[in-house]
């Protein structure tokens, strides 16, 4: 628990105590002869005399047989001047009216509401202040209705943080089915970012009767359903349960405390089969890249726009330098045991930390007899692997690119947005909180779908980042990315246990 969170409860109570509580005096009135019916638990009894004098009594009793009221208290005259406190016994005949008084402390609901709002305020500020680089950043997120309800199914071009890094990103739309010939997606901007979308398309490829379509870079293959490994080991131990099937269980190791670029190896074993094979990798990046990116932007501070424009002016060469920083964290490399030892077969590359992507890495022919042995070489703490499966591959297929037929915003068709998303105009700009409904008409017959998104985005510089502005560190990041990742390791380890929770908390739900 952070210091602000520890202080939150007492602070709120103090605020409410000072401002939100009022005393309301509950009162019951009766003639003295009827006073036995009054609430005997009331701490005070007032006896009003015809003369206007008043007795305020505590520890009071009413004796109906003796027709007297007894208690300790204060007598006031009609101008309410007090006499010394004393024991009093009053006859019913002296008293015109009795009144019980019970003070109730009541919290005004308006202040409770503002107290809750303050708690949210403080919580939000505390979360972002304690770990400014954990606040939500996502690039465009895409939602669809699947068997599990509306779920996030893709996120676009996560690594394209400047115009010069504009890229085309393809994500598998696992489990997404069209309704009445239309595949419906919802695109959201749920972060403090501006998205510039050049083009969106759905790629449809015919699905085999007993299997699916898998993507390996620009190539698409029909294949059988993936077979689970028989063994999965890493330095942390057995990882078989985590990667055997597509579920909420993921393999995720902790980052190295001394160097964020430290790598690890995950070893896999599959029963051998006949014919061409490929490894299906279903997973996503952790928030390590996001943390490093946000730290870089914090160091850029108020000059971030100049840095990014310089990057854009520098063209692909400058972009390449930034990409080298990311390359140090690297992709998930897939190595396979051949007759010549382990050889690199391909890689899984997905920079998005929210939606899991599925990619295929084809394995070379002529593998040695016995089980298929694979090694995944990856940066510690950088990946979350949900499923690793061996796929028996069929024929290669060429998907059909489908442009959207309608774009709606707030339920209203937006022809201009449609034109832009189809790549027929300037990029569509989507800002925080924007939601776009997209319809893609799809061909008949069973298909598997992929989302192709081209664009880039700009992170907004958070006020909490500005104190960290340091141009020297930006320069060092580009000159010595390895040293920077070592220097950042302690800071990341400090937030690593909480970073997923903080990230999700700071999401902006449109």
């Amino acid at each position: 628990m952070t210091v602000p969170q520890r202080l939150l409860g007492p602070s709120l109570l103090c605020l409410l105590a000072v401002t939100g509580c009022v005393t309301l005096w509950r009162a019951q009135f009766a003639k003295p002869s009827d006073a036995v019916a009054l609430d005997a638990s009331a701490p005070f009894l007032k006896a009003h005399l015809e003369s206007g004098d008043l007795y305020v009594l505590t520890q009071w009793t009413i004796d109906p047989e003796a027709r007297v009221i007894r208690g300790e208290g204060i007598r006031y005259d009609l101008e309410r001047r007090a006499e010394p406190r004393a024991q009093h016994t009053l006859g019913f005949d002296e008293v015109a009216l009795v009144e019980t008084n019970a003070p109730h402390q009541v919290v005004k609901s308006q202040f409770v509401v503002m107290g809750v709002l303050t708690a949210v305020n403080v919580g939000l500020a505390a979360a972002c202040l304690s770990s400014p680089k954990s606040c939500f950043g996502s690039c465009p997120t895409f939602y669809a209705t699947t068997a599990g309800g509306e779920t996030i199914v893709a996120e676009g071009f996560s690594q394209a943080v400047a115009r010069s890094l504009e890229t085309t990103d393809v994500d598998a739309l696992a489990g997404v089915e069209p309704a009445q010939g239309v595949l419906h997606l919802t695109m959201k901007n749920e972060a403090l970012e501006s998205h510039a979308i050049r083009r969106l398309a759905v790629l449809a490829a015919p699905r085999p009767e007993h299997g699916r379509v898998y993507r390996d870079g620009a190539h698409y293959f029909q294949g059988e359903f993936p077979a689970a490994p028989t063994a999965c080991t890493s330095a942390a131990g057995d990882c078989l349960a985590a990667v055997s099937k597509a579920d909420a269980l993921e393999y995720h190791s902790a980052a190295d405390p001394a160097d964020l670029a430290t790598r690890e190896t995950v070893r896999l074993r599959f029963p051998r089969g006949e014919g061409p094979r490929g490894l299906l990798v279903r997973g996503r990046a952790s928030l390590l890249t996001t943390f490093v990116l946000y730290q870089a932007l914090a160091w850029m501070g108020t000059q971030a726009d100049e840095w990014l424009m310089a990057l854009d002016r520098g063209g692909p060469a400058a972009a390449q330098r930034l990409a080298e920083v990311g390359a140090l964290l690297g992709d998930v490399e897939v190595w396979v045991k051949t007759a010549r030892g382990f050889e690199r077969a391909g890689r899984f590359s997905e920079q998005g930390p929210i939606s899991r992507d599925e990619q295929l890495v084809r394995l070379p022919d002529g593998l040695p007899a016995g089980d298929v042995e694979l090694e995944l070489r990856l940066t510690k703490g950088h990946w979350k692997l949900d499923q690793l499966g061996l796929v028996a591959l069929g024929r290669e297929v060429v998907p059909v690119a489908l442009a959207p037929s309608q774009v709606r915003r707030g339920g209203v068709a937006d022809a201009e947005a449609l034109r832009r998303i189809r790549g027929e105009g300037p990029r569509l700009i989507s800002n925080t909180g924007d939601v776009w409904e997209l319809d893609f008409p799809v061909p008949g017959g069973p298909q598997d779908y992929f989302l192709e998104a081209r664009g880039y985005y700009h992170e907004w510089i958070r006020g909490q980042w500005l104190p960290e502005q340091d141009p020297d560190k930006v320069a060092r990041l580009f000159a010595d990315p390895g040293g920077t990742l070592r220097a950042l390791a302690p800071a990341f380890k400090q937030v690593e246990p909480e970073i997923d929770r903080l990230f999700e908390q700071s999401r902006i739900a449109p």
Partner: protein, 185 residues
């Protein structure tokens, strides 16, 4: 449409007053109060009198079938014929609107630290502050119509009726008169 709905909610919530019946359970918890802290005077009241709704402010001293008795902060006790009274407002507790405004202003200002989040958090604070201020402003008083005046004795310094020593008004109220009645209290 949404703005109209919000306005209706604000207006509706802004018109909620404290119930007239003092024996009703106000909720909360019974607190410990020293004997000397028990209030012994009448509640602050404002009577709106006559066709011009003239204001008469002061401590509510007593109510009977003929008169409403109010002691202004300065000046003599006034007896107001009940037939002239259009309504009476009794302040049951401080409204705390000032605290609400202060809290809302500070809360709204604090959203400046949220960067672009303030689009959401700032507007939430403004709306909440507005609603709280409106409801607090009217949620601390009892409003009595002419037919409910007899029940206001529960809020008076002298619920048993005005003592003879303070009576200065004629036994039956002349129409249209508000009369200084007695000593300054």
């Amino acid at each position: 449409m949404r703005a109209r709905a919000l306005a209706l909610v604000l207006l509706a919530s802004g018109c909620r007053h404290v119930p007239l019946d003092r024996s009703a359970d106000p909720g909360g918890s019974v607190e410990t109060v020293a004997l000397e802290q028990v209030p012994v005077k009448g509640f602050p009241a404002v009577a709106f009198v006559g066709d011009d709704q003239a204001r008469h402010d002061g401590e509510l001293m007593a109510v009977d079938v003929d008169y409403l008795w109010i002691a202004p902060a300065a000046g003599q006790l006034e007896c107001i014929p009940v037939g002239l009274v259009r309504s009476v407002e009794i302040e049951v507790h401080p409204s705390m609107v000032g605290w609400s405004v202060l809290w809302s202003v500070l809360g709204t200002a604090s959203t400046l630290t949220h960067g672009w989040w303030l689009i959401f958090s700032g507007s939430t604070w403004v709306a909440t502050g507005l609603a709280s201020g409106l409801t607090l402003a009217s949620g601390n008083d009892v409003v009595a119509a002419p037919k409910e005046l007899p029940r206001l004795n529960e809020y008076a310094r002298f619920p048993q009726g005005l003592p003879e020593a303070l009576r200065g008004c004629p036994r039956s109220a002349p129409a249209g008169a508000v009369t200084p009645a007695g000593p300054q209290l």
